[in-house]
């Protein structure tokens, strides 16, 4: 059914359809609309779930952990400082092998108080053992949320999945969204290690140096196995509902000589810049990274690469640029743009490509274009 919705409302709609038994969440701008909408669904009886209005994000994830280990479906949503406050528990959720699905509305970190888009919040979570997907449209936010439950709960995965959408640029933007008749797309949850008082076990007990690394390796093994599960899930989604997704969204990449890579809405904006550059005779393409964990296999051989990071690792560089460099050895131009909601247009993106200096870093608004 076609509707007009914000990114936040689309996520809430998908969560309603996925039908978690427990939702535990805490409000934070610009995510609040998701949990308000879910609370409304629960209160009005449209969603037969328990909504736990916890007193912090740390408790939101802890409550999801406690609920999830009983073998039921759970969801939470947060943003920025909320995600950071949750950080101890996001590690715990992955380590405890719990398929908790979470939406994170990407937002800058204080100080100063800035509520606008930035990816540093989610990127600080990249070593927790959770899967991360970044979306670029309201439709994709909805679709990715539905798929997240199926992927997380797959018994070859059993890890948390975080759907990332840009603060305001997506969370509060209204776009058309085509909702689906879900049917049995998300199978009933079966958690093999669910708590059962009839079969008592210790969970997370003292674990010695001769054992701990095995549990860590199990996370990595499942992370690797998740690649196939993601591919199968996206294929099945396309078959049932007609919309195709992949680890990246490639736009005019085949014959491209220079590839633009970015996450989220910037990655979508880059497609407009590609058309603009093509009209000027520059063979550009856009490869928007969707799944950051597990990290995609990128084929960048023989291409020049311009990476736009809406994030930064101080003393190191743009996080996405350096991950790409580490994984592919690609020669790239690292642009830092869009921090804290800084306006970046397709014209700006085309400009980054035109004036690219391979091997260098460029802070938009700080360094001057050559």
């Amino acid at each position: 059914m076609k509707k007009i919705a914000t990114g936040n409302k689309a996520v809430a709609e998908a969560v309603k359809q996925a039908g978690p038994t427990v939702v535990a969440a805490y409000p934070i701008t610009p995510q609040t609309e998701i949990v308000e909408q879910i609370a409304e669904f629960v209160t009005s009886g449209q969603m037969p779930a328990k909504y736990i209005a916890v007193e912090s994000e740390h408790s939101a994830m802890a409550a999801c952990i406690g609920a999830s280990i009983t073998g039921i479906r759970t969801f939470t949503a947060t943003s920025s400082h909320g995600l950071l406050y949750m950080h101890e528990m996001t590690n715990w959720a992955a380590g405890a092998r719990l398929p908790i699905v979470m939406a994170n509305v990407n937002r800058s970190l204080g100080p100063g108080w800035n509520i606008w888009a930035e990816h540093t919040d989610a990127l600080q979570e990249r070593d927790t053992g959770g899967l991360q997907v970044y979306v670029s449209t309201v439709q994709e936010a909805y679709d990715a949320t539905l798929m997240a439950f199926r992927i997380a709960e797959h018994n070859n995965v059993l890890l948390p999945v975080m759907i990332n959408l840009d603060g305001f640029l997506l969370s509060h933007i209204m776009q058309p969204v085509d909702t689906v008749e879900l049917g049995d797309f998300i199978p009933a949850i079966h958690l093999p290690h669910a708590i059962d008082p009839k079969h008592p076990a210790g969970y997370g007990t003292l674990t010695g140096p001769d054992q701990q690394f095995k549990f860590r390796w199990e996370i990595e093994r499942s992370m690797r196995d998740s690649v196939k599960v993601i591919e199968e899930t996206e294929k099945e989604f396309a078959k049932r509902f007609g919309r195709k997704y992949g680890f990246t969204e490639d736009y005019r990449c085949d014959d491209a000589e220079v590839i633009i890579i970015a996450l989220g809405t910037l990655g979508k904006e880059a497609e407009v810049a590609v058309d603009l550059l093509r009209n000027e005779g520059i063979k550009a393409g856009s490869m928007r990274i969707r799944w950051l964990r597990p990290f995609p296999k990128l084929n960048l051989k023989g291409k020049e690469v311009v990476v736009i990071d809406r994030d930064y690792s101080f003393g190191f560089g743009g996080i996405v640029a350096n991950e790409i460099k580490a994984k592919t050895g690609a020669s790239l131009y690292s642009v830092i743009a869009g921090i804290g909601g800084q306006e970046v247009t397709y014209d700006d993106i085309a400009g980054f490509v035109r004036t690219r200096r391979m091997g260098e870093e460029f802070w938009f608004g700080v360094n001057a274009h050559v």
Partner: protein, 265 residues
């Protein structure tokens, strides 16, 4: 405690001595499921668990078993939230008045005058009265207990689990290495805490306060506080002015509880 709770029980345990007592993976010393969780998160975790069990129509007891650090200090926010939300669970705090696992550092539960590794000359601040903080959430049932009175503790755990909603039991747990007295004196230490009034046994059921018979005796005629302090190495060399403050606090606490008992009768 587990005998009173029965087999349909799950324990939620934050970092505390019980994290160690379970033994090392792949073994566990407990015959009910134990869910271990990070230090500050026990009550929130239990809150999610209880909601999930109830949503599935299960009556499984959810019991948090946490130390004084995990309750009075790092866990207080999650605990306050869980009580405010009316979580159907039992929260048990076993209180040895310091961080035991890490080698006896002061906690909010350490009494004034007690030496710990972070208060080498004795704590200058008073013990936090967590029971009054919990009482402010108006739970259906709250009780204090002491490890030296196991039958009283057994009864209170059984009773707590008959209520719907959040219940709380605060156990004083004498700790030989931390309090620095010989292990065989543990029962005696617990009893002396009650007999001197340093620890008061009482229940608060739907707001009605009932002081336990052992503490009633102590209220009428408390043993001299020195009998409790002097066998413990942690109080060695305690300033007499601090002892006076402790005595005044005992008297005040008795007065307050007696008044609450009378007012709620």
């Amino acid at each position: 405690m587990l005998k009173a709770a029965g087999p349909d029980t799950v324990m939620v345990v934050p970092a505390c001595c019980t994290s160690i007592l379970q033994g090392i993976y792949p073994n566990t010393a407990f015959n009910v499921p134990v869910y271990n969780i990070a230090f500050g998160a026990a009550a929130a975790c239990a809150s999610g668990m209880s909601n999930a069990f109830r949503a599935a129509g299960k009556k499984t007891n959810v019991i948090v078993y946490a130390g004084d650090g995990g309750t009075l200090d790092i866990g207080i926010q999650a605990m306050s939230g869980a009580f405010e939300r009316g979580t159907d669970f039992l929260y048990i705090c076993y209180d040895n008045e310091a961080y035991g696992n890490t080698g006896m550092q002061r906690s909010g539960g350490t009494p004034m005058g007690a030496k710990t590794t972070t208060t080498p000359t004795g704590k200058t601040d008073a013990k936090k009265d967590i029971d009054r903080i919990i009482a402010a959430h108006d739970p259906p049932y709250l009780a204090t207990a002491c490890a030296a009175y196991p039958q009283d503790l057994f009864r209170k755990v059984q009773k707590a689990l008959t209520f719907r909603g959040p219940t709380f039991i605060h156990i004083l747990a004498p700790c030989p290495p931390g309090w620095r007295y010989p292990t065989e004196k543990s029962v005696e230490m617990g009893k002396l805490a009650v007999k001197t009034g340093m620890w008061v046994l009482y229940e608060r059921e739907y707001g009605k306060v009932t002081i336990g018979p052992q503490s009633k005796v102590a209220m009428k005629k408390p043993l001299p506080l020195e009998e409790y302090l002097s066998p413990q190495g942690r109080f060695k060399g305690i300033d007499t002015r601090v002892v006076e403050i402790l005595k005044q606090r005992i008297a005040k606490n008795f007065q307050r509880l007696a008044a609450e008992e009378e007012a709620s009768a």
